[in-house]
């Protein structure tokens, strides 16, 4: 090396750039660097750095790295990609990524692993699972996976194996709003933020928990179209900063403000009476109940001034129907989630914004859209079904109480795996097969999950890294990342039908496999191969398009295909454009809309503001009602969590580029509270309660209520395999109690804590 001034500078800087870690068996580092090969031409695909799954366009650059940009064909995504999406390549060739099957050789969680071949992994799994099945029944094995994409393949394996116990992460994240929508509308609804003129938001932090098309839509509505945004959130988040008005609402009292908005809409005669008369069942009982929920009452509960609730409600009604109350996403603020999410939906129903621009609407998939058009505008996708699947007599472990019936087909109550394992409620579990899920972080009461995983006979984990949960597995199966996988075509219909597809960009790195292949090969070993009659992913894709190779090629080439014109049934202009385009379209109503065609999959066929079905499932809950909840002791502070734009929950803390951006989560404390506790900014602190105790650092900021502390979730992993994340920051799941909310089955993300300076 030439020794000049520039060389000297390089030497001086090298110390800070280096990253030293012990080589982990099965990691890319252990296997030695393999070259990067793949498509030098852009391939349209789908991101998987979070569950939004944005359409992307990616290519291998000079055999060294991967360029990942948004797919411009998907208009509402605008060709954009967030920090996590842009860092996907950093996960792909991270030296700490696991690329070889592993077998535990120490105690569970001890971190001692040995590399094995796939055949051996399958043989060990099949032997253990079949032994459990023979001794205790197939139902004593639970199967869980992050929902979406390939989770269906794992759940198909579960059914072939004979277990009804399949779980997604739903009850730890979105189930609250999904279950409430099922009860009120009979199914999920979408929000048209980009056309909204007035948006009321209860802590749905779309500017940190980025959902690309919604985030873009809301910003566009705010900045280009003059929409007003009102945010109720205990913390000064980015969405609170971007709001026109921010109210630091007391944690867990959102339902009170939502009900007071409904009260004001009805009592001040601001609601859409014609809409209610035509589409709503159970209005009278609801109106009777909300009579008591005055803004003054809500102020006493929530700290939001009554006059502001009243004024905001009037402004909201004035913008109707092009206004919306956002029903949120990660929804477990309190155990009263069901009432809260229903109250948020009710505030939308009352202004009649359903199927109106800027309000709520139903997805228009091809079959529905084509019926309206009177012609085949968009192709429909076939769903492969396998005949002669084994019948399963055993009940799911979460089928102990009918009040949770709406959740059984939407992911189930994930945390019942703990009760079934530790207390044999309703029966004993013996095995757990998990894929891309990290309950140690995302569920609650970490200690109880450790206890559960120590007690089970056999655990399999399939993932990209050895997550905190996978660290307790007996066998670890390394999955190919999304950049190395082909998958089924996905329906992404919004106001009109759309499809997109994930495609391989990079040749498989190391000895990894896509999980659809892993579960198929495992099924062969288990003796259930006959239930997996497809050869490969292309077989499945061709089945979806009914062997229409041209269609499949189009979807693959463009990566995103949409059909027809946007349609909202009660928007006259949109319906006119639609009927002008399709001469055989269904006849319109007298007012030029499809209003009379709007129907709901509820027992009454109407929007059920009050529900007999819910009353039967959960006596006392037919009508939306406020119930006081106690989430902390008097001498504790509220502890709340949220998302940050550079990480996805607990999934990305070890990705090099993202770890470099943020690897710690300081605890937000108000200056007054910090002063009382003698805590200065940056001080080491202990945060603790009856569930657990964590050490971290204080961020003293006025951006939080004095009675509340906040931390971004996902940090503080405790297993040594996640070298960049372990021991950094506060582990939120270790502080949250194991509680299941009524009806929604949600676990709880708000609790009480004490803080002490270390």
């Amino acid at each position: 090396m030439k020794l000049d001034r520039r060389t000297f500078i390089k030497g001086a800087g090298a110390g800070t750039a280096g990253c030293v870690f012990a080589t982990l068996p099965g990691s890319l580092a252990a296997l030695g660097q393999t070259g990067l090969s793949g498509s030098a031409e852009s391939v349209a695909s789908i991101c998987e750095m979070c569950s939004t799954r944005c359409p992307i366009s990616a290519r291998v650059v000079n055999g060294k790295n991967v360029s990942i940009l948004g797919n411009k064909k998907a208009k509402s995504f605008g060709g954009a990609v967030c920090a996590r999406g842009g860092a996907g390549h950093s996960q792909l060739y991270d030296k700490q990524r696991i690329v070889k099957p592993l077998k535990r050789v120490g105690e569970r969680g001890e971190g001692k692993w040995a590399e094995i071949e796939w055949d051996e992994a399958y043989a060990i799994i099949a032997e253990n699972l079949n032994k459990i099945k023979a001794q205790h029944g197939a139902e004593s094995v639970a199967f869980s996976s992050k929902s979406g994409s390939l989770s269906g393949h794992l759940f198909h394996l579960a059914k072939a194996f004979g277990s009804p116990n399949t779980f997604t992460h739903a009850s730890t994240c979105p189930a609250g709003y999904v279950v409430a929508a099922k009860a009120i509308f009979g199914g999920k609804v979408k929000r048209d933020l980009s056309n909204s003129k007035y948006i009321i938001n209860f802590g749905h932090n779309l500017y940190e928990g980025i959902n690309m098309s919604e985030t873009r839509g809301m910003m566009n509505a705010q900045m280009e179209k003059g929409a007003k945004l009102v945010v109720f959130e205990p913390r000064f988040s980015i969405v609170a900063d971007k709001a026109d008005e921010w109210y630091a609402i007391k944690p867990g009292t959102d339902v009170a403000v939502a009900l007071a908005i409904c009260h004001t809409l009805i009592e001040d005669d601001l609601y859409d009476k014609a809409f209610v008369a035509q589409y709503v069942a159970g209005f009278d009982a609801f109106a009777q109940e909300v009579k008591a929920y005055t803004p003054e009452w809500a102020e006493s509960v929530s700290d939001v001034p009554a006059e502001d609730i009243r004024r905001i409600t009037h402004e909201y009604a004035a913008a109707a129907p092009h206004a919306v109350v956002d029903f949120g996403h990660r929804s477990s603020f309190t155990t009263e989630e069901f009432e809260m999410r229903r109250a948020l939906y009710a505030a939308n129903v009352l202004i009649g914004n359903i199927e109106r621009k800027g309000g709520l609407y139903f997805g228009k998939k091809a079959s529905k859209y084509n019926k309206f058009a009177g012609e085949k505008v968009a192709p429909t996708l076939a769903k492969p079904g396998v005949e002669g699947m084994p019948s399963i007599d055993a009940k799911r472990i979460d089928m102990v109480d009918d009040q949770y019936a709406l959740l059984w087909s939407s992911g189930g109550i994930y945390q019942t795996i703990l009760d079934a394992t530790l207390e044999a409620k309703p029966y004993q579990l013996h095995g757990w097969v998990m894929s891309r899920t990290n309950p140690m972080q995302t569920m609650t009461d970490r200690a109880r999950i450790v206890e559960t995983m120590q007690k089970l006979d056999f655990i399999v984990a399939c993932d990209i890294y050895i997550s905190e949960s996978a660290a307790y597995a007996d066998i670890f199966l390394p999955e190919s990342t999304y950049l190395e996988r082909d998958e089924e075509i996905v329906d992404k219909s919004g106001k009109n039908p759309a499809y997109y597809v994930r495609q391989r960009v990079v040749d498989t790195i190391g000895d990894t496999k896509p999980s659809w292949m892993i579960w198929k090969e495992l099924a062969n070993q288990l003796g259930q191969g006959l239930y997996f009659p497809w050869d490969n992913m292309e077989t499945l894709q061709l089945f979806q398009v009914d062997k229409d190779a041209a269609l499949l090629n189009t979807i693959k080439r463009d990566g995103w295909v949409s059909y027809g014109k946007p349609l909202m049934l009660r928007e006259r202009e949109m319906v006119k454009t639609f009927t002008d385009t399709y001469p055989n379209a269904k006849a319109v109503d007298d007012d030029g809309t499809y209003a009379s065609q709007l129907s709901f999959k509820t027992p009454s066929g109407k929007i059920e503001l009050s529900s007999d079905k819910v009353e039967q499932m959960a006596p006392g809950r037919g009508v939306i009602r406020y119930r006081e909840v106690t989430m902390k002791k008097a001498d504790e502070l509220f502890f709340i969590q949220g998302k940050v734009a550079v990480h996805t929950n607990a999934g990305t803390q070890n990705v090099p580029m993202l770890a470099n951006l943020m690897s710690d989560n300081a605890v937000w404390i108000h200056p007054i509270t910090a002063g009382l506790l003698n805590i200065a900014n940056g001080d080491a602190i202990r945060i603790y309660n009856a569930t657990g105790s964590e050490e971290g650092h204080a961020l003293v900021t006025p951006g939080i209520r004095p009675d509340t502390v906040f931390a971004y979730m996902g940090c503080g992993s405790k297993n040594k395999e996640l070298a960049r994340a372990t021991g950094k920051g506060v582990h939120c799941g270790n502080l949250l109690p194991h509680i299941t909310s009524p009806v929604t089955g949600m676990n709880l993300h708000t609790t009480g804590v004490k803080i002490a300076k270390l």
Partner: protein, 190 residues
């Protein structure tokens, strides 16, 4: 000078998500220990409940009157015909004068090439292909507008002509070509 490339950062639309930061790092192979571009979320400023954050883009300001160019003893630091402050690696002797002279603290020594480095609007890669810089193309909320300010029909010209904007440290006479649309909340901290 036929072209005058400028960048506008709208602090109202920016959410500090670091998509630009990551895209820049990926596009330009920026080593882990250094950075060409960050958006710093500063604050919150103000008094409860009237708080606000500042979204501060930190990257080369592409000064018309660039101190880094003035102090360079070999001419390695120069302003290209398109207005982009550039670096000729072959002429660089690594004296670090430019790093010290930059009033915005956005020049650094690239630990791999051993040459001063900074944002160049992706001129060798994306700009050469007729594409927007990486940060502009990925921005989730369209907070960045890039273009030739000499082109009266350009989007960037329109934005500069119609929206209030400011530049940082104008008192130094550097005439930055990165413009900022101030947040509608709070004051301007240039």
């Amino acid at each position: 000078m036929t072209k005058r490339y400028v960048l506008v950062h709208d602090e109202n639309k920016c959410i500090g998500c670091q998509a630009c930061n990551v895209a820049c790092r990926s596009e330009n192979n920026v080593p882990e220990s250094v950075t060409r571009l960050q958006v710093r979320i500063e604050g919150p400023y103000g008094n409860f409940p009237h708080l606000h954050f500042k979204y501060n883009r930190v990257s080369c300001e592409q000064c018309e009157n660039a101190p880094c160019v003035k102090v360079c003893p070999t001419g390695a630091a120069y302003v290209n015909a398109d207005g982009i402050v550039s670096i000729n690696e072959n002429k660089c002797v690594g004296c670090l004068y430019c790093v010290a002279a930059c009033p915005y603290k956005v020049r650094f020594i690239n630990p791999e090439t051993r040459v001063p480095d900074k944002c160049d609007f992706c001129k060798e890669t994306r700009l050469a292909r007729g594409e927007d810089p990486a940060c502009v193309s990925v921005c989730p909320t369209q907070a960045l507008v890039f273009g030739d300010a000499n082109d009266l029909n350009s989007e960037v010209r329109k934005v500069l002509d119609t929206k209030p904007h400011y530049q940082q440290k104008v008192n130094l006479g550097t005439e930055p070509r990165v413009y900022r649309i101030p947040s509608r909340k709070g004051g301007i901290k240039a």
